[in-house]
Structures are given as structure tokens and as C-alpha cells.
């Protein structure tokens, strides 16, 4: 019998302090939660690290930290609203925006060995005032099973990214040739790889806004580029010559993605959280039909998201099987239920292999939403389970 009572079952404190392998995984914890430090394990920092953010300084109380779960206790002592980022090179590890003057916020993050920068951005503009932080230890403690999971997932992400390059090349060529029909048929398939590994791609903060932004989500002054710019041009009869530069840039971006995968920060927890984020994408973007507003190929993305999440679960299964076998049983059943719910929409006669979403009725969308919810609730526990916090 599967228990869906999972949210009531979390023990007060971590059951056992397993060698905490997770690194780079993010938790945005509400302020002054005692649990934020309870959860520290595996050599992580025991106490919160104070960050005093003012209009002209970003004082981090300790700059040499042990690896593991670390809580930055941020106090905005300045006169402006501020935001605090933790960077690993150009990668955003975690961030908290909108910290008002005189207020505090606890930002919990799981840090592996390496150099980081804590940046305070008074007024929430610019590169911020930066403080370098060195983290030692904590990253070499992956168990063999955890290392296997990370390696397997990285290989999967690499494979998906690599496979996307020639598909985008073909799409670009069709756009450049002004061949609308061919380009339309190549559009959805070119996105599947991206959709299956999107959380990793999003961890490179600059790529996602260029490659996958939706027109409705543009900020003032932001260029509309990437797949959805091409989608709009392809389905609204625009002159394709005008978007050839967009297609050229998209090709460069997928090539860059493929090159950056080896440097992506991947941990058991980030894999688990990424699976959850993929289902979030389904729930907020695909079920509603907002993702592919012109092409209506949402179900192709949906399938990519679910397959990517299922792969993440598959590589983590040996790890989670030890920590939380019940979760494995439940997720196995719920992934199967979602795949079964998607199956009737498979349509080999369409380029992406799935029915156009504008043919899916409201009742059918509700049924899809229900199976997605049934999977997403237990899936939200996967990141913690991968870190031994069950």
C-alpha cells in the first residue's frame, strides 16, 4: 500500500547523519527556522554565517567555511532594498531578492568545495558589492552510489544537449532557407532535449533568458529571442528573413550549452530538485497551454519534461532506495500513471509525436493536471531524500 501521507511523515530531525553528498543544491529557507541548522550535516557549517548588508558594504562574518549546508543570515542594515546572490563564477548558486531595509532573511545553501562570491546589491542593481568566500571539504564525501548517480545524470544531460545541436542546426537552416513548412515540423523536436534537462540549463543563468523566454515574460528592454521568437514568426506568417539572426544565435547557444555541461554543478539533491522543477514546468506552463502559445506543441514539451524527471529519478533510485524505499515505490507508480495518461495523445503523424494542444479539451486538461499533481507532491520530497533528509 502506498502511503500518500508523506508530508506528515517527515521526522523532526534528520534520522541519520549520512555522509552528506549534496552540493550546490539550493534551499531558500524562511527566516529564523531552527531547522535550517538542524539539517546541517556531513561536516557542513553548524552555525549561521552573518551577512551584514549596507548601502556600501557586504560584510560576511566568516569567509573560510566548511562544505555542506550553510545558512547565510542576512541583515539589511542599509537604507535601500537589497538583494544577495551567491555566485560560483558566473553561475548563480542561490539568491534572495527584495530584502527590505531593517529586515533579515536566512538563505540556506548546500556548498561544495570551491571559491564563491557573496554579492550584496543595494538598490537591486548592478554587479553588487562582492565578498569572496572559500569553502573547503564537503565535496569529496560522495558515496560510490551517489557518485554513480551524478556521473550517470551528467552523461544524460550531455547526451540530450549534444543531440539538440544538429536539430537546431536543421531548424536554423530551414529558417534561413525561408522554408516555413519544414521549419514548423522541426520546431518541437528541436526543443525536446532542452525540455528534458532544463533545470541544468537554467543553472547557467544567462542561457535560459536568451533561449527559452516567452513573449509574455519579457522585461522592459529585454530582447525577444530564442525558440519562442522563432515559434511566433513561424506560426504567424512573419517574414522569416527577419529572424535568421535569432536562429543563428540559438544555434550558438545550444552549442555553448553542450560545452558547459561538464562544468555544471550536479549533486544528488540538485538532480532531485531538478526533477521536481521539471514537473513544476509542466504544471504551470504546459497544462495551461501557455508555453507554446502559437504552435500548440505543449504536449511535446510535456513529454520531454516528464522523461527528464523520470531519468533523474532513475539515476537517483539506488541512493533513495536506501534512504526512503517507500518514496521509490510511490514515485515509480506515479511516473507510470503520468506516462499512461500521456500515451493516448501520442500521434505519430505530427512532427513532435503528440497531438496539438488546442485539440485537448478542458476535461482532458484537468485529468492531466490531476496525474501531474499526484506525481508532483511525492516528487517534491526527492531532493531531500537524495540528501538523506528523510
Amino acid at each position: 500500500m502506498l502511503s500518500r501521507a508523506r508530508l506528515l511523515l517527515l521526522p523532526l530531525a534528520p534520522l541519520a547523519v549520512l555522509p552528506l553528498a549534496s552540493c550546490g543544491a539550493l534551499v531558500d529557507a524562511p527566516s529564523s527556522s531552527a531547522a535550517a541548522t538542524d539539517g546541517a550535516s556531513g561536516g557542513g557549517a553548524d552555525a549561521a554565517v552573518a551577512v551584514n548588508a549596507t548601502d556600501s558594504a557586504c560584510e560576511v562574518a566568516e569567509t573560510d567555511l566548511p562544505g555542506g549546508v550553510t545558512t547565510f543570515s542576512i541583515t539589511n542594515a542599509g537604507s535601500q532594498v537589497t538583494e544577495v546572490y551567491v555566485y560560483d563564477g558566473d553561475r548563480i548558486v542561490t539568491e534572495k531578492e527584495n530584502i527590505g531595509p531593517g529586515t533579515s532573511y536566512d538563505l540556506t545553501v548546500d556548498l561544495t568545495e570551491g571559491q564563491y562570491q557573496v554579492a550584496c546589491k543595494p538598490g537591486m542593481v548592478g554587479d553588487g558589492i562582492r565578498q569572496t568566500v572559500a569553502v573547503t571539504g564537503g565535496s569529496s564525501e560522495l558515496t560510490a552510489a551517489e557518485q554513480t548517480a551524478v556521473d550517470a545524470y551528467r552523461a544524460y544531460v550531455q547526451q540530450q544537449a549534444d543531440a539538440t545541436v544538429p536539430l537546431v542546426q536543421q531548424l536554423r537552416d530551414a529558417v534561413a532557407a525561408g522554408d516555413r513548412t519544414t521549419a514548423q515540423s522541426l520546431y518541437a523536436p528541436s526543443r525536446v532535449g532542452w525540455e528534458s534537462v532544463e533545470p541544468v540549463a537554467e543553472s547557467f543563468g544567462d542561457l535560459d533568458p536568451r533561449m527559452d523566454v516567452r513573449e509574455a515574460d519579457l522585461e522592459a528592454g529585454q530582447q525577444f529571442t530564442g525558440w519562442h521568437r522563432l515559434e511566433k514568426a513561424l506560426w504567424t506568417g512573419e517574414d522569416l528573413a527577419a529572424v535568421v539572426p535569432v536562429a543563428d544565435q540559438l544555434l550558438l547557444d545550444v552549442q555553448e550549452l553542450s560545452q558547459r555541461v561538464p562544468n555544471a554543478a550536479i549533486t544528488p539533491t540538485s538532480i532531485g530538485n531538478g526533477a521536481k522543477e521539471l514537473l513544476d514546468e509542466v504544471a504551470t506552463g504546459k497544462i495551461t497551454g501557455e508555453e507554446e502559445a502559437f504552435s500548440h506543441t505543449d504536449l511535446v514539451d510535456f513529454k520531454g519534461n516528464v522523461d527528464g524527471a523520470q531519468e533523474a529519478f532513475a539515476v537517483l533510485t539506488p541512493v533513495v532506495q536506501q534512504n526512503d524505499p517507500q518514496l521509490v515505490t510511490e514515485l515509480t507508480a506515479q511516473f507510470a500513471a503520468v506516462q499512461a495518461a500521456l500515451a493516448p495523445y501520442a500521434d505519430a503523424s505530427t512532427p513532435g509525436g503528440y497531438a496539438s494542444y488546442d485539440t485537448v479539451t478542458e476535461d482532458q486538461r484537468r485529468e492531466l493536471a490531476r496525474v501531474v499533481d499526484a506525481l508532483s507532491e511525492p516528487l517534491s520530497q526527492l531532493g531531500a531524500a537524495a540528501a538523506g533528509q528523510v
Binding site: M1, L2, S3, R4, A5, L7, L8, L9, L10, P11, L12, P14, S22, A25, V27, A29, P30, S33, A34, A35, A36, D38, G39, V69, T108, D110, T269, Q326, Q334, A337, R370, D373, A374, L375, S376, E377, P378, S380, Q381, G383, A384, A385, A387, Q389, V390
Partner: protein, 417 residues
């Protein structure tokens, strides 16, 4: 159900040692005092209405200020899963109605890498007299869970009435949960929590928020007004009037014997009829005072029956206009049938034409809808002058489970048979 999770669940919520599906024996002998309708402990926002008792709370409980009502479709595929859902809901309801956070870590004490077990928006809001009242609709009694033979004869499908404008997306449901509290956020938190717990086993079919209690079971309190500006629920049974409650509201032992006893498990329960009644506020507001009073059958200011001075004056319903609402709905016009009304006003924004999408979310508890709601509504739908201003847009009927004894679970009387 695995023993581990069950033990973990109940231990987490502090409801005492319970395992598997026992305790059925305790049902019939539950201490009645525990169900005493108006009993609550604590003061102010900390007031707690006891969850356990012979009857579920939230029926003959002093009507709270706010409502969040939700109807669920059960998506579970086995009876065991349905039982596990109701057990989990019971454990959560015990915590929620006591004003406690759900789950081991609550809102912020759990593992930092996992989502909190309690969603947190009711932290510091206390119990606020939260009650959670759960029932089973006719659709639950099919072959999915082997319950077809246990469908009580009184749980009939509500027939179509003239001028019904029912929307399927606002009607029916395998299960219903009525959450009432004196703080709206407490009620919303409760439904949100039960919905989250139900993932994979049940999904919300429709829901309704209500405010401004449109009825009372406390004769000493002023009778509340509905959105037409009239007092509503003057003749409601009092929570203290146990004789009337037993005669009109609670299902009694032996009620279902004539029908072969299919519903014998319902003793101590009640039947709930919900109707989402859209009111055409704007046209009503253009109606003269005299016309309004003739339509209702009471005065607007005092709520007195027409021709009388006081709201509670004795009157002969036949003295009121033939098509007036109070005359047609009066027990004497309906063979003595009376319902415990527990409705709430609702305002769901506008209808897109600049008119309020507002009205009465009618909730009525009764011993048998065949002799209460159905004949009353049949008469009203045909003759009630008020119908011109009303549109029934949603409907449902549920067998509200008998009360839960300590250590038992919601619906156990049905599911342990």
C-alpha cells in the same frame, strides 16, 4: 497500508495509538457529551470545537463566520487507498481543528531540503473554532470501492427542478469537506492541507468560499441577513434543542431498515444538500420595499412575519401571501419537515457584465432529503415569487458521516462494513 507509515502518521499527530482498521466497536458507544454541539474550549481565536464525538462537528455547531467548502473526485483505485485517504484526513483534521500545525516538522521545523509539511499560512491564527465536516456523495457508491450495496436509500439523486441552471463543474462530488472557522484563512488552510494530502487519491472537483454566516443555531444571537438584506434562518433549530435535532437532522438507528438496512451505518450522521444560489442582486435592488416584503413574507427591518411585530412571533404561514418564500418553505407547509440551514453568502467577483456574481451558498442538514429538501424545493421552484431573482447554479448531496470516536476515522462506519 504499511504499519510504519500509519504509526508514523498517528504518532506525529498525537492522536494516540491506532493501527490499521480497528476501533469499529467503539463507534456505537461513543460518549455523547463529546459531540455536544456548541461545546468549545478556550477563548477568543483560541477557541477549539472538539473533533471527536457521536456527531461530526460543523453541523449543530454555532455557525462560524467563514466557509471554505470543497467537493472532491476520488481518484484512488482501491478501497484500501480510499481508507488510507480518510485516515490521513482524520489525523490532519484532529491537528487542524486543535489549532496545531500538521506533520512532524510543521511549517518550519522539518528538514531544510524538503518542503515543509505544513503550508504555514495559519501559523499564529489558532483554531478559530475550525470544524471539518466530511461526507460521501452518491457517486462514491459505485463499483470502484465495493460500496454500491451500502448506499443509503435516503441518499437519493437530487431531481431536476424547474429553472435549475446547474453547472456540472459546480455540482456533485464523491466526497465533500465543509471547513468553517471564524478566520477565513484558517478555513482555507484546512482545505489546502487536505487537498495536498489527497494528491493521487482525490482531487478537488469544485470549491466555494463563503462569508457572513447566513444562518445561526443560537437563538440568543441576532439572525444574520442574506444579500437581499433580509434575515435568513429565523426558524432554524437551536443547537441546544436535541429533540428537534434528533427528529429532523440526525439519522437515527433503524431509519434505513425499511430499505433493507443499506444505510444502517449512517446512524448519527446527516444528509447535506448544498446549492449554489446566484442572486440577481441588481434587479432585486430595484424592487420596491413593499414588493420585497411580499416576496419574502417578512418585514425587512425586524424580520417579523407580515402582519406581526416581532421576528419570533408565532404566525400561521397561511396568513402570508401564497407565493411568499417564508410560507412555502415553512415546516407546516411541508408536513413538518425542517432542515438545519448553515449557508453562507458568497461574492465571486462579477459576471463579466458588470453585475455581482453573488448569492447564497445554501447548506442544509437533514435526516432524510426525501422528506425535507426535495419536497420543499419542489414547492419553491414552482411557486416561490423569490425564484424570479434566483438561479441555482450548483448542487450536491452527501451522506455526512457519523461522528468519529477517539482513535477512529472519518467514514469508518461505512468502510469497515
Amino acid at each position: 497500508m504499511t504499519g510504519v507509515s500509519r504509526r508514523g502518521l498517528f504518532a506525529a499527530l498525537g492522536s494516540g495509538a491506532v493501527a490499521g482498521g480497528l476501533v469499529a466497536a467503539g463507534v456505537a458507544t461513543a460518549d455523547r457529551s463529546g459531540a455536544s454541539a456548541a461545546a468549545s474550549s478556550g477563548s477568543g481565536s483560541a477557541r477549539v470545537v472538539p473533533f471527536h464525538g457521536e456527531h461530526q462537528a460543523g453541523v449543530a455547531t454555532d455557525v462560524q463566520a467563514n466557509l471554505h467548502f470543497a467537493a472532491f473526485d476520488v481518484t484512488a483505485t482501491s478501497r484500501d487507498e480510499l481508507v488510507s485517504l480518510l485516515q490521513d484526513w482524520t489525523a490532519a483534521a484532529v491537528a487542524l481543528t486543535a489549532g496545531r500545525e500538521v506533520g512532524d516538522g510543521g511549517a518550519s521545523g522539518g528538514a531544510p531540503l524538503a518542503p515543509p509539511s505544513d503550508t504555514g499560512e495559519a501559523v499564529d491564527l489558532h483554531a478559530n473554532r475550525l470544524t471539518l465536516t466530511v461526507g460521501a456523495g452518491p457517486s462514491l457508491f459505485d463499483d470502484r470501492f465495493g460500496l454500491a450495496a451500502a448506499r443509503p436509500a435516503a441518499l437519493v439523486d437530487i431531481p431536476a427542478f424547474p429553472a435549475d441552471a446547474l453547472v456540472p463543474e459546480r455540482s456533485d462530488g464523491d466526497l465533500c469537506v465543509q471547513a468553517c472557522a471564524d478566520d477565513p484563512q484558517v478555513a482555507v488552510h484546512a482545505i489546502r492541507t487536505l487537498t495536498r494530502l489527497a494528491a493521487g487519491r482525490a482531487a478537488v472537483r469544485w470549491a466555494q468560499l463563503g462569508y457572513g454566516r447566513a444562518a445561526t443555531v443560537d437563538p440568543s444571537a441576532p439572525t444574520p441577513r442574506n444579500l437581499f438584506g433580509f434575515k435568513d434562518g429565523t426558524a432554524n433549530p437551536a443547537a441546544s434543542d436535541t429533540a428537534t435535532l434528533d427528529a429532523q437532522v440526525w439519522v437515527q438507528q433503524g431509519d434505513d431498515d425499511a430499505a433493507g438496512g443499506a444505510g444502517a451505518w449512517m446512524a448519527g450522521g446527516s444528509y447535506l444538500v448544498a446549492r449554489r444560489i446566484r442572486m440577481h442582486i441588481e434587479t432585486w435592488d430595484r424592487t420596491s420595499l413593499q414588493e420585497q416584503e411580499q416576496v419574502i413574507g417578512r418585514t425587512k427591518a425586524a424580520g417579523a412575519p407580515l402582519g406581526h411585530a416581532g421576528e419570533h412571533d408565532a404566525f400561521d404561514p397561511r396568513s402570508l401571501p401564497a407565493s411568499s418564500h417564508v410560507r412555502l418553505a415553512h415546516p407546516e407547509t411541508n408536513g413538518g419537515a425542517q432542515m438545519l440551514r448553515r449557508g453562507y453568502n458568497f461574492t465571486d467577483g462579477t459576471d463579466g457584465l458588470g453585475h455581482l456574481d453573488a448569492g447564497l451558498f445554501f447548506l442544509a442538514y437533514q435526516r432524510d432529503p426525501r422528506t425535507a429538501f426535495i419536497p420543499v424545493q419542489t414547492a419553491l421552484a414552482r411557486q416561490d415569487a423569490l425564484s424570479e431573482y434566483l438561479e441555482h447554479t450548483g448542487s450536491g448531496v452527501w451522506a455526512v458521516f457519523p461522528g468519529v470516536p477517539d482513535g477512529g476515522y472519518l467514514g469508518q462506519q461505512l468502510l469497515s462494513t
